[in-house]
């Protein structure tokens, strides 16, 4: 049970960012004709920030099928996240694995996988991290939808930086040797180039696949870079 709390508390530094963008989502949902309860329901059911912003943007012009398909595409990166955390969940029951997948977000995944890498991870920590983000996101959305108009764009205050800064802190867990550093540099560079060339979240998927491939390659070509 201690791990559940640790996971929950670990989300606190990220929570202000989640709530701030939740508020913005709530305001925008109202603007396309959602009731506060509908805005809340979408966050509770879908729990995917980027996909929800995209869906709101499409709401007035597109139908159900394009919105659902776009949601699928925007969230495809979760296949990669799921694959990398799967080995740590192997001993768990199918029910536990299904539950941990339910509220997995970029943020809670990052917290959990870094903790696994440090040898201190557990399914309870993962669940706690999932729960923390899952509490914050719909709460922000409902509040934004109820308050309505007067909420400024959180990016004006740099709050969009909360997530990449948090990921930077967690990335350090994986930079134990030269291979890890090379993977991060390669993936970061690929993502930077990919962002200007590819739509949506494709740059993250491509950089995630190719950057990790670089790690595997270097293990073979430069064995001394491992654990040095």
């Amino acid at each position: 049970m201690k791990d559940l709390w640790r996971g929950l508390l670990a989300t606190l530094p990220l929570a202000p960012g989640v709530v701030a963008f939740g508020l913005l989502y709530g305001v925008m949902a109202r603007q396309v004709g959602f009731s506060p309860w509908e805005a809340w329901a979408m966050s509770l059911l879908v729990h995917a920030g980027s996909a929800q912003f995209t869906a709101i943007g499409m709401w007035a012009t597109d139908g159900a099928i394009p919105i659902i398909l776009t949601t699928l595409v925007v969230n495809l990166r979760h296949l990669l996240l799921g694959a990398s955390v799967a080995p740590y969940l192997r001993g768990l029951s199918p029910l536990w694995r299904a539950l941990l997948a339910l509220w997995m977000s970029d943020e809670s995944y990052a917290l959990a996988i870094a903790e696994y890498e440090r040898g201190q991870g557990s399914h309870l920590y993962f669940l706690g991290a999932n729960a923390g983000i899952y509490l914050a996101w719909p709460a922000g959305g409902l509040a934004g939808a109820l308050l309505g108009t007067a909420i400024p764009d959180p990016s004006q205050y740099g709050l969009d930086l909360v997530f990449p800064l948090g990921f930077l802190g967690l990335l350090t867990a994986f930079l134990k040797d030269r291979v890890g550093v090379a993977v991060a540099v390669a993936a970061g560079g690929l993502a930077l180039v990919g962002t200007s060339l590819l739509p949506g979240k494709w740059a993250i998927i491509v950089a995630g696949l190719m950057g990790s491939g670089v790690g595997l390659l270097l293990e073979e070509v430069k064995p001394t870079w491992k654990n040095s």
Partner: protein, 101 residues
């Protein structure tokens, strides 16, 4: 009511992306795949960080966010703390903003 149907569809496809690989890789996997998967987290995390810092609008831009992330990277390297990295990076952003950079 129609909205709820769309929400349910969105929830379903989102859940698929989250659960599919956790289910598919639930058994013992090939050692080579296992080794590859070990490098996915640093690759994904770096891919989430670098464009957000250096190309927040989609094109390369060495602005406030780049400097904030640079300070954040130093703090992350020295402290490994998520909290201090976020606070230090945001403080840098706000300070530079106040100075009119």
């Amino acid at each position: 009511m129609e909205k709820l149907v769309i929400f349910a569809g969105m929830a379903l496809v989102t859940y698929f992306t989250r659960y599919a690989m956790i289910a598919a890789l639930g058994r013992e996997v090939d050692p080579l795949l296992r080794r590859w998967l070990r490098y996915v987290p640093p690759a994904v995390l770096a891919a989430l960080v670098v464009p957000a810092a250096l190309a927040p609008q989609g094109n390369l831009e060495i602005g406030l966010r780049a400097w904030a992330a640079l300070v954040g990277a130093v703090i992350a390297w020295r402290t490994r703390s998520v909290l201090w990295t976020i606070l230090g990076g945001l403080a840098t952003f706000w300070l530079l903003r106040m100075l009119g950079a």
